[in-house]
Amino acid sequence: MMHMLDKLSDPELFHDPVDINGVPTGLLVDQLRDLVLLRMAEQHLAAMRKDGLIGGPVHLGVGQEAIAVGVSKWLRNSDRVFGTHRSHSHLLALGSSLHGLFAEVLGKETGHSRGMGGSMHLYDRSNGFYGAVPIVAGTVSLAVGAAMAARLQATDDIAVAYFGDGACEEGIVHESLNLSKITKAPILFVVENNLFASHMHVTQRQPSDSMVRFAHANGISSAVVDGNDVVAVQNSARKLIQEARDGKGPGYLEAVTYRWYGHVDWRDDIDVGVKRSMDDVQKWRARDPIKRLKHALINEGCWDELRHDELCVKLKNEIDHAWERAMSDSYPDESKLLDYVYASLGDD
């Protein structure tokens, strides 16, 4: 019998507050703030897309926030992080500016990619975010190369490659895992297993719902965690990241989660999702990474509903302010259509 996720993919389980497992509560309060920021920012994007204010598609990771927050905790801005079509949270969790993201999604010149990328081509090198693209698994080999470069440059920086269960069906992922192991590349592969690729459930696409089997096949150090538990994510990520920095080669973290919205934009995708029922969505909403951390902190006596409400009001103001600014920013000049194709035109 092939290894399966079993309990970790069961939406009836893991609804209780998370076990804080020795992590200082002050730190967890900061992470709660980050989780809520990512959640509210993406819910804002969903609403604005629905209202027609955003012209292009947005792939939202609402429900998956604990993975990016838990991993980013151990990263520094000289690391090399690569994302996917669903990377708003990967970017924001690194401390990247909300205004830069919103402006980019709107195609404004003040955006992180100067308005040339939109939601699907995010970039913020100053915070270690090397880039995200929507070709499934398109950045995985790039991240391996950035990690190989870190070795050649004799730094202890690492690369991070975020990808999903769907990407595991692309051949390039398997080439990349093999190459990373054989070159001892300092990289963390983070597989956000949300059980769906577009409308297809993982059991309709693979003989197992467990993505860690590909780490085992390549002899890569790995961990499998509940991706909706920010404590579990950060504790496993910490160990794998440290091993990579110490020259022990690649690591692989499978984090099991679920996206609340459909594949793209604000809809639930119940109608187009094979094996995606509203009943399942509701159960997974009860496995909410924010609610579970919030109640853990309330049980510890260092958080309460009033402070939570105040946090939400404060973040809402930040989001509204960043959005208004982005809305009033300018679009790229028409000359930019050709200016960025090559680094240099006749002067290098």
């Binding site: 080999s141 950035a146 390039i172 680094a343």
Partner: protein
């Protein structure tokens, strides 16, 4: 004159690698066969021994991942050279080349540039057949964001490789095994900016313009000598850089000769020969043309295996001279 040194096309490429690895610590080389480079003639001999296997990386059989890794390494400040000993195999790497490398600068608003060089080798003939013979430069020249370089001469084999690797943009540098035995005396390396390089007149003439690329430039030059005996003066233009493509030199030549023949070792449909003719036709007044322009290309068929078919498949000097003579008769 004492500084001139004799090189073959193959050893000129080798000397470019040595120059780059000597002077630029951020240069590394990755590809299959690099620790036993018998696939690539004498163009990479002993690089692993001289520069170490950390910088000269022989790889798993993973064209896509190795090319993608080079894109990623370039974004992290390195200057990687990926070697694909046969262009046919690098089709596995098309996502890294076309979706990632070519578009990266544009997608991120010019804030990052994947300055990798992909050395793709055309290695055909010898009854190797359809999947060991392709010349796909026209494909890559179609993609905005890629620079496509094809050296025809020994000097260009060395100097354009150096310029490619030093370019901040992704470059497809394509060399042809049929040129490896050419020899030339070269001066020491002088660094050139790739974006200032383009087509060049390599032999003057007055009756016809013959445009070539890589090996077809050699064929064009050989044809010039035969045509001269028939009293036809051919001007030869070597394209050298196919993308971004600057047709100005060809336009000037055709304004003078009024006749254009484009020889290309690729296929006809949507190929480079058609692009050259279109770019010139748009810019040379109708009254200047003495003949309609002519493409001399491979037939639109995969490379055959049988030597009898190979003989009619590849372009030869006879075909070029006969075509020119017939057109202007």
């Amino acid at each position: 004159m004492s500084t001139l040194k004799e090189f073959s096309y193959g050893t000129a490429i080798l000397s470019a690698f040595e120059y780059l690895l000597d002077h630029y610590p951020e240069v590394f080389v990755i590809g299959q066969g690099l620790w036993s480079p018998w696939y690539v003639g004498n163009s990479m001999t002993d690089l692993d021994k001289k520069y170490g296997i950390e910088r000269i990386i022989d790889t798993p059989v993973s064209e896509a991942a190795c090319t993608g890794a080079a894109v990623g390494a370039s974004l992290a400040g390195m200057k990687p050279i990926v070697v694909h000993p046969r262009m046919d195999f690098m089709l596995y790497a098309m996502d890294a080349i076309v979706n990632q490398a070519a578009k990266w600068s544009h997608m991120v608003g010019g804030q990052a540039h994947p300055g990798l060089t992909i050395r793709a080798i055309i290695n055909r003939g010898g009854e190797q057949g359809a999947q060991h013979s392709q010349a796909l430069h026209s494909w890559f020249a179609h993609i905005p964001g890629l620079r496509v370089v094809m050296p025809a001469t020994v000097a260009d084999a060395r100097d354009l490789l150096i310029a490619s690797v030093l370019s901040p943009d992704p470059v497809i540098y394509i060399d042809d095994r049929w040129l490896y035995e050419q020899t030339e005396y070269l001066p020491p390396v002088k660094i050139r900016g790739l974006s200032q390089e383009g087509p060049r007149v390599i032999a003057d003439g007055s009756d016809v313009t013959i445009v070539g690329t890589s090996y077809s430039t050699k064929l064009a030059l050989d044809s010039k000598h035969v045509l001269a005996e028939k009293g036809i003066s051919a001007e030869i233009v070597d394209l050298r850089v196919l993308n971004p493509f600057d047709a100005e030199i060809v336009i000037q030549s055709v304004n003078k000769t009024g006749r254009l023949f484009v020889v290309d070792g690729g296929w006809r449909n949507c190929g480079m020969a058609g692009e050259v003719i279109a770019s010139v036709a748009e810019n040379v007044p109708a009254e200047r043309w003495k003949n309609t322009p002519v493409r001399i290309t491979l037939p639109d068929a995969p490379a055959p295996t049988s030597r009898v078919l190979e003989k009619i498949y590849y372009i030869g000097v006879d075909q070029i001279t006969a075509t020119v003579q017939k057109a202007i008769a």
